[in-house]
Symmetry: C2
Subunit: 166 residues, 2 copies
């Protein structure tokens, strides 16, 4: 009897995906923050795979991107903006500096602090990485129309920065 | 001269927040996946603060929530659904089991696997935690109207589960 019941369940679940799909109906799967985390995880996994060819990961890419923004972020600002520990930022900047992509300079606004600026090689690396990340992002967002992608980005932007704009 | 230039910059930046706000104009701050990560980080920080009173964190809450879903998730499914390593799930389930909130049972669909089910105390804990998380979520989403919150959730749902629904 138990064997038969098991077989029936298996027949209704042709693959592992079919099994896990039932979790989409959970309360958790309707919580916006869970969905934001999962969206990020799906995107990061894809972007990390693609960025591996440039020996970057999403986090080092984020630091490089802000270093190349022309906005002269300090290490403290990078930590705050990226929600990472200062020690994590130091390690990421160290690794980018070691490969000649960024340099630390004294911050004219606060001499106890360093700002992170790109080298010419760092700018080139960022241009390549940004193209890779953009392609990965488009893949991850392929379920949405261009208008819906804009809508999603605008809504997320308002939530993501609500604490500082409110 | 340099001192004067510095003072001018400082005057235009009345607080640390004002300083970091300029990073909102970076390319990174317009990437949907960065925004999803930041939305999650803002929400998690707030939820972790609130959940501390119940000795839970966002991750243990997520496991408890799925255990209480009535959907009988296996440890493997929890790992896949939450994008965590199986070893992380084992540690989270261990800690919830130790405090009497969940139990491991043999999975009728696969005897090599365990499903995670809640105890009565676990269901009560989840009810309290879900209320806390919902309040924290509403705080995090307070920049949006109710319609916009629904819109955001629906768009994220389509992206977060695109890989399995596409």
């Amino acid at each position: 009897m138990t064997e038969t019941a098991d077989s029936t369940v298996r027949a209704a679940l042709p693959s592992e995906e079919a099994g896990i799909e039932r979790l989409y109906s959970s309360e958790l799967a309707n919580e916006t923050e869970f969905l934001a985390a999962r969206t990020r995880s799906v995107g990061s996994r894809r972007a990390n795979e693609e960025l591996a060819s440039l020996d970057l990961k999403v986090r080092s890419y984020s630091v490089l991107s802000l270093a190349c923004s022309g906005l002269n972020p300090s290490q403290r600002e990078l930590a705050e903006f990226l929600f990472l520990d200062p020690s994590q930022i130091v390690a990421l900047v160290d690794s980018l500096e070691k490969r000649g992509a960024v340099k630390r300079k004294a911050d004219p606004r606060d001499r106890r602090s360093n700002i992170i600026t790109p080298t010419a090689a760092g700018k080139k690396l960022y241009a390549e990485a940004a193209a890779v990340v953009q392609a990965a992002g488009e893949g991850a967002l392929s379920a949405l129309t261009p208008e819906e992608r804009d809508q999603l980005r605008d809504l997320l932007r308002r939530v993501a920065f609500a604490d500082q704009q409110g």
